[in-house]
Subunit: 386 residues, 2 copies
Amino acid sequence: MKNFEFHNPTKIYFGTETTKKLGTLLKDVGKRVLLVYGRSSIKKIGLYSTVIDQLEAANIAYFELSGVKPNPRIETVRKGAKMCKENNIDVVLGVGGGSVIDCSKGIALGAKYDGDPWDIYMRKETPKAALPVVSILTLSATGTEMNGNSVITNLKEKKKKGFGSILSYPVFSILDPTHTYSVSKHQTGCGIVDSLTHVYEFYFSQDDNYLNNRICESIMKTVIHYGPIALKDPNNYEARSNLMFSSTLALNGLTGFGKDFDGYNHTTEHVLSAYWDIAHGDGLAITAPHWMSYILDKTTVDKFYEFAVNVWGIKPGKDRMKVANQGIRKVFDFYESLGMPLYLKDVNITDPDLDLIAEEAVTNNALGKFKVLTKQDIKNILKNAL
Amino acid sequence: MKNFEFHNPTKIYFGTETTKKLGTLLKDVGKRVLLVYGRSSIKKIGLYSTVIDQLEAANIAYFELSGVKPNPRIETVRKGAKMCKENNIDVVLGVGGGSVIDCSKGIALGAKYDGDPWDIYMRKETPKAALPVVSILTLSATGTEMNGNSVITNLKEKKKKGFGSILSYPVFSILDPTHTYSVSKHQTGCGIVDSLTHVYEFYFSQDDNYLNNRICESIMKTVIHYGPIALKDPNNYEARSNLMFSSTLALNGLTGFGKDFDGYNHTTEHVLSAYWDIAHGDGLAITAPHWMSYILDKTTVDKFYEFAVNVWGIKPGKDRMKVANQGIRKVFDFYESLGMPLYLKDVNITDPDLDLIAEEAVTNNALGKFKVLTKQDIKNILKNAL
């Protein structure tokens, strides 16, 4: 097992009716709140009014920033940071999915920085402080509710950039699975794919780490078990609660201890989203299966064999390559059964400039750790996904 | 999944050479340290001198309290708390196994309390503050390095009592698996049994929680896989590192989310230790298998079936009771293979007063959640373990 550090200070309140604790809990964090959310969905499910009631009952002053979009924009971050400065905001409350919470983190960083918040995402500046962030999650997907990461998109510059910091861990996050009952089939599918991909990026590693492997498999098995149930029966509490905490654990440090991270999927997807503004889960559904097929060889077969047998229940066999291939086939089939796209054309990306995508994805002409990929490799993988 | 809260602020530094970070890290926590340890083992492995070098290089003043025993005594806690007050100690550093770290937590609580620290363990007083605790772990077992629990023994009153508080989470813990290379076969076995029992106490629950079940199984499988390897080859890094982080995860909140806790094993063992001062792991090796055998019935068979198949690899079958029994048999066999005691007579407890043990273990005449046990049940289980 490789050396590692683990630290996750976020407090989780999980379950039904937990939003009713918001006022009491938030009072200890701040008195002037910037409430950040997307469009109408939190109003439709009644969450918006519960939040407002809580803020008012606790005598917390609040300012609202709505309209956060998927692939949250740097413009919204800039606007929110400005609002924080002008109104002496002392805590940012994100109510929504990963985009809203990521945007809230960007705002909280920007509020304590004099320059353009985009500097932080472009690594021109290391932030020294941030406002505290609190989240109420309405979508099981990114894990942002219990980590220090945020991903912000600059469509003008065609860049989607992530930034991680201990400053960005939410002080607390409220996770009520009933808030995800109204999530559409497509968004549920996107969340399932995002959670699985977070696990892949540590599970598929050349590092030997038995405990980590078994925990990664636990999370994948849970997501695979309950994903189809949630699609069929959106109000199934067991399915929604298992998916919700699985997505949290998939990227809160628990899947990553003592392992190398392989960034192929997220890095490549970020390029696709930055250029075509596609849903993150759609992009990952396209990148991952073709990546697996492409990198399966004698240096990776043992891991894919383990994946096939332990996660997908493929019968063990002497022909390890065959079993490994059957496991990867299961990924294609599973994504298809969720109604997710498997090819770029499925999300209307036709005739893309593969040179450009590959160029944007690589650093020093390479990408990935489990299997180090060249620009040509990336082009080959994407060609298989056209 | 039942509602739950999850919060674990302890920072973990895991791996080789991590003790060399101690001075730098500790400076941010305090300037005057009480160094708590047991007898000679940390000197034998060179850890003591590394720690002292680190403290001196970082210009941290230190005071020493050595001689902490297994089943750490309230007298040592009192002595340490007094030393803290007299010397303006601002951080307690425990270097050792669970007993040393638990004792350090007791001292840290006592240092900020005017009365007798035993009041805290007897629930006469709720502590409002504690000194920060830092730990360097040398034994994989209790999980105390990443939780807020401590267990202290009062032999005069024949009581062993636990107390949990957010105040008692170590600020950080250093986990270097090589520090456990010299742990004896018996102590290694005790640690394996302790880790497994922590998992049992949440895994065996009437609550349905798929994700939790799979994670619990991951940890148990890892411990069962690497336990025998560590016994045979004490310097096997993969075995020691997997056992070490498994024991941490077994009681850091990860195994307990959304589940009822069943306290039969630890509660009963605490009575045995308080009366006969036996090793905690020995006590648990005696309580758990007989508990499983006794409570197996139609209300528990499904869980034991799952345990048999998923953890012990028993072949699924139509006769669920038979499969469940085979799984429990595996527990007896595994403990025996580790050289652990299975009966009270194996630890020289002969002709014990079963009435008294049962009376001490129950609260309102009952104990346990997975299967609620009466005093008579406890006596029956112990009779089977004579």
